[in-house]
């Protein structure tokens, strides 16, 4: 089993699980708290949650894989979110995404091997007038073109 970056936080995770022990219906709440704590949901964490709440690992993973918010891979230092909501889409966000994927050498949903960037697609950031929009660690960058999007990334190198 691959090493997880969660050992240091195990005690806190145990506390979260203990507060919901034996309550399968609390699964999503616990997943949120665990991901907030650790940053992602590796297998060991999922097993601990399954055991604690009394659900199967299959159910845990099924829920995680359903919601894009949950991730089983560590996120990069910089979280790049490209909006593909309707307004951004018609103003060219697919080209932005395509270019960023090429630039970073990863697909949306993945992180770079050096742990610096992760890339995801989101639906509407509420800044449609600035479309196409992307955020980097919650800071918005608007009116992008493929070249300017790449230039934005350079700021975070």
């Amino acid at each position: 089993m691959e090493a997880c970056q969660c050992e240091a936080k195990w005690e806190e995770l145990d506390k979260i699980i203990a507060a919901h022990r034996g309550r399968p219906s609390d699964l999503i709440e616990v997943l949120h708290q665990a991901q907030d704590l650790i940053g992602y949901l590796p297998r060991q964490v999922q097993v601990a949650i399954a055991e604690g709440l009394g659900v199967s690992l299959t159910e845990v993973y099924s829920v995680i894989s359903f919601y894009h918010h949950f991730t089983v891979k560590p996120k990069g230092k910089y979280q790049v979110s490209v909006c593909k909501g309707t307004a951004c889409y018609v103003k060219g966000s697919p080209e932005i995404l395509e270019r960023l994927e090429k630039e970073l050498g990863i697909k949306a949903g993945d992180s770079t091997d050096d742990g610096k960037f992760s890339l995801e697609v989101v639906r509407c950031l509420g800044a449609c007038g600035l479309g196409p929009v992307m955020t980097v660690n919650k800071r918005a960058h608007g009116l992008l073109k493929p070249d300017t999007a790449v230039a934005v990334l350079k700021q975070y190198q």
Partner: protein, 573 residues
């Protein structure tokens, strides 16, 4: 209970409140096609094949989940309904891996039949197709997600009936796939390989690993001496594959078919079912008189054993050390019989005909080599045997009835009932009672342990001593029973069979296998028992001879070496 009046296709119907439109229509003799629906197990309205038009409602309703209402006017066959059904099935076909002529479920596929029934002659859409690898990691079950239509019947059976939860929907939308967590391989997870998913899969997305080519090769090899054994439950199910009514007893035809396929000896797992009773009955008597550990739990069902090893390893000391009849057969065939018949066991191939997919896993367990060779070489399910019979062009229905070969073909009524839930318990009680008391049982029929009730309990009076027994079938019920035991409930003897109804409802049985068919097969099993001249295992002359000539007595050193085994705690992850 209040009732509701409605009309379906202009036919007035009166049903209990809360009834679904589908059930109400059935009562009125109207067939509504379904696909994802599995009565009592998967009622989720997902596939929308069963849609109907309800007057006053804007949308079509999924009749499998929509309840009836007073004065409802339902149309099951309007142009709008027919168009919607056709469209829904066309959409399923648009991304289906259509290789029907070579698919294992060809001619027994619900998607295929539905497309025919709905008159679909072309698929108007070319969908994007998924490309998942085939998972053939286990010796028993193959997953082929590209054929999956996401009906979730397998998920429901695995969760609700078996309580195993090996597979679930992963991802969402087009990317949804029914799989283990992390899309792990079935081999690496707590799947018990019971094959109930293969019974309910409407298409060819989950099916048994086929070993017919290995068996054909052995049969064609002049160097090999190929013996076959047939499990109790197969004789009341094989006929269904050839259009005979479910539950009809076709023992003689099956023996004849196996001979025509070229097996050198046709033997019966019923013989070693009797042997199991001798060993397990003696084990029970010993534990009962010498203080445990009790309850003793039966060990014939390999799906149950693997389940116990994954989820309840604390019960390992309670589970009988007896190998299953299949494995006892292999060990006896390659030692006692090989010696007696002067056959080199290295050249002997033992094939089993089983109602079960988990038996394929069982025969490959590393500890199942006590004869010095792999005791059982290949396991074929009832379905695979039927395939071989068809391939050989044998007219099964018109075969003459033939007899099993001696001596591993002689058996009793106690052995045949191993095929149904409660049967191992009943067979054990018939023998234990007589061995303990030295008296003849007044009645051989223990009705309390028969039938499809999930958990059955009985108290048997053995000369003043009350023996408390319990019987569970399906792993969901097994789980409930084991939790009762953990909570302090006292039993002396427990029978657990993995599949609903016992082996007659096994994962390797003909498709469909549903509650009605299970009941018919159970009826066949007890009829076969009643027709046997000998109905108690300890009275089987060939078993008596086996002990006299070879094993000594039950639980002897030789018995322990060949007929008993041990278990492994496997963990859940």
């Amino acid at each position: 209970m209040s009732t509701v009046k409605l009309t379906i296709d202009n036919i007035p119907v009166e049903v209990e409140a809360g009834t679904t439109i589908l059930k109400a229509a059935e009562k009125a003799g109207i067939h509504i096609p379904t696909l994802c629906y599995l009565e009592g197990i998967n009622e989720i309205g997902a596939c929308r094949v069963c849609v109907v038009e309800v007057e006053g409602a804007r949308n079509l309703m999924a009749s499998c989940v929509a309840p009836v209402a007073e004065g409802m006017v339902v149309k099951t066959n309007s142009p709008r309904v027919r168009m919607a059904r056709r469209l829904n099935v066309e959409l399923l076909l648009s991304n289906h891996k259509m290789e029907c002529p070579t698919c294992i479920r060809n001619l027994n596929c619900e998607l295929q039949s539905l497309a025919q029934e709905l008159g679909i002659r072309q698929v108007r859409f070319e969908g994007k197709k998924s490309e998942y690898p085939i998972d053939d990691s286990t010796p028993a079950i193959i997953r082929e997600p590209d054929k999956c239509i996401l009906c979730r019947r397998c998920v429901a059976v695995c969760e609700k009936v078996q309580g195993v939860k090996a597979i679930a929907p992963m991802g969402r939308g087009f990317d949804t796939v029914i799989a283990p967590a992390f899309q792990d391989k079935l081999l690496d997870i707590a799947c018990v390989e019971c094959g109930q998913c293969t019974l309910v899969c409407p298409v060819g997305a989950l099916y048994e690993k086929d070993y017919t080519s290995e068996v054909w090769a052995a049969l064609a090899d002049p160097e090999k001496f190929v013996v076959v054994q047939t499990a109790p439950a197969t004789r009341v199910s094989i006929g269904q594959e050839f259009g005979l009514p479910p539950g009809s007893i076709n023992t003689g035809q099956m023996v004849a078919a196996l001979r025509r396929l070229g097996f050198d000896r046709v033997f019966d797992t019923d013989f070693t079912a009797d042997l199991t009773i001798m060993e397990e009955g003696s084990e029970f008597i010993e534990r009962f008189t010498k203080g445990g550990p009790l309850p003793l739990i039966t060990s014939c069902s390999p799906g149950w054993i693997k389940f116990m090893e994954h989820f309840y390893p604390e019960f390992i000391p309670n589970v009988s050390t007896c190998k299953s009849p299949q494995q006892m057969f292999g060990a006896v065939a390659k030692t006692f019989y090989a010696q007696k018949a002067g056959i080199d066991p290295a050249k002997m191939v033992v094939v089993s005909i089983m109602p079960c997919t988990a038996k394929k896993f069982e025969c490959q367990r590393p500890e199942m080599r006590d004869s010095g060779y792999q005791d059982v070489d290949y396991v074929l399910t009832t379905r695979e045997l039927a395939r071989m019979i068809r391939e050989a062009g044998i007219d099964f229905r018109n075969l003459p009835e033939e007899q099993y070969d001696d001596p591993l073909g002689e058996s009793t009524g106690a052995a045949v009932i191993f095929g149904a839930t409660g049967g191992v318990m009943e067979a054990a009680l018939r023998t234990a009672y007589e061995l303990i008391t030295g008296k003849t049982l007044p009645s051989l029929d223990f009705y309390d342990v028969r039938g499809l009730k999930g958990i059955k309990e009985a108290t048997v009076d053995i000369e003043g001593t009350k023996v408390r027994v319990a019987v569970a079938h399906s792993l969901g019920h097994a789980r409930q029973l084991l939790e009762r035991v953990k909570a302090g409930e006292q039993y002396h003897f427990i029978e657990i069979m993995c599949c609903p109804g016992g082996c007659i409802g096994g994962g390797g049985q003909p498709i469909p296998t549903n509650t009605e068919i299970r009941e018919q097969r159970i009826k066949g099993i007890y009829q076969a028992d009643a027709e046997m001249p000998i109905r108690k295992s300890h009275e089987n002359p060939s078993i008596q001879a086996l002990y006299r000539e070879f094993l000594g007595k039950p639980l002897s050193e030789k018995s322990h070496h060949l007929l008993h085994t041990h278990y492994t705690s496997r963990g859940k992850y």
